[in-house]
Point group: C2
Chain length 103, copies 2
């Protein structure tokens, strides 16, 4: 299930911070998205690869540097998955309520 990888990718402070940076602010490169994260450039690069493997970001090489772009559709998938869990839960509670209230 691809959504597992998506959630796993989001489940790390450095990567979540990167996602927040990417969502707003300027156009980002590997460098700009990695600065000040309290880990080395190579460490940050690994995190970016994990985000890319989960299709949460897209890396695009442009001359000397590589741009990093957030992939909105994948976020959407994650959000939809959670929404579906909530929807089913609500339905389940509703059914229970009807049962308790007497058919």
């Amino acid at each position: 299930m691809a959504v597992v990888e998506l959630f796993r990718a989001l489940g790390d402070p450095s990567r979540l911070e990167m996602m927040q940076r990417l969502s707003s602010g300027e156009v980002h490169t590997i460098n700009s998205v990695s600065k000040g994260l309290d880990i080395t450039r190579q460490g940050a690069r690994k995190h970016l690869q994990i985000l890319a493997d989960a299709h949460l970001v897209v890396l695009e090489s442009k001359g000397r540097d590589t741009s990093v772009r957030l992939e909105r559709e994948t976020l959407e998938e994650g959000r939809a998955f959670i929404a579906e869990l909530e929807r089913r839960w609500d339905k389940r509670l509703e059914a229970l309520r009807r049962f308790v209230d007497g058919e």
Copy 2:
């Protein structure tokens, strides 16, 4: 940031399966939510603890067995976090579009 733990907890196939089971179907116990997961009971129990630590489920001891209940509010937090990322991204794109179109 608590949302990191939440995503991390969701980022595992066994745990995600458990969440799906919990969202629908009957009332669940540790046993019922753990059966047929291709791991031992103790393995499943560890996963449940991780979900509980992330406040995604609540464990409640009742006599011989322990009920497992999904915690909707935490799901909501995760969904809201993703929604906020998307919102910021959309705003960013909109600003870029206005700039390209000439102020």
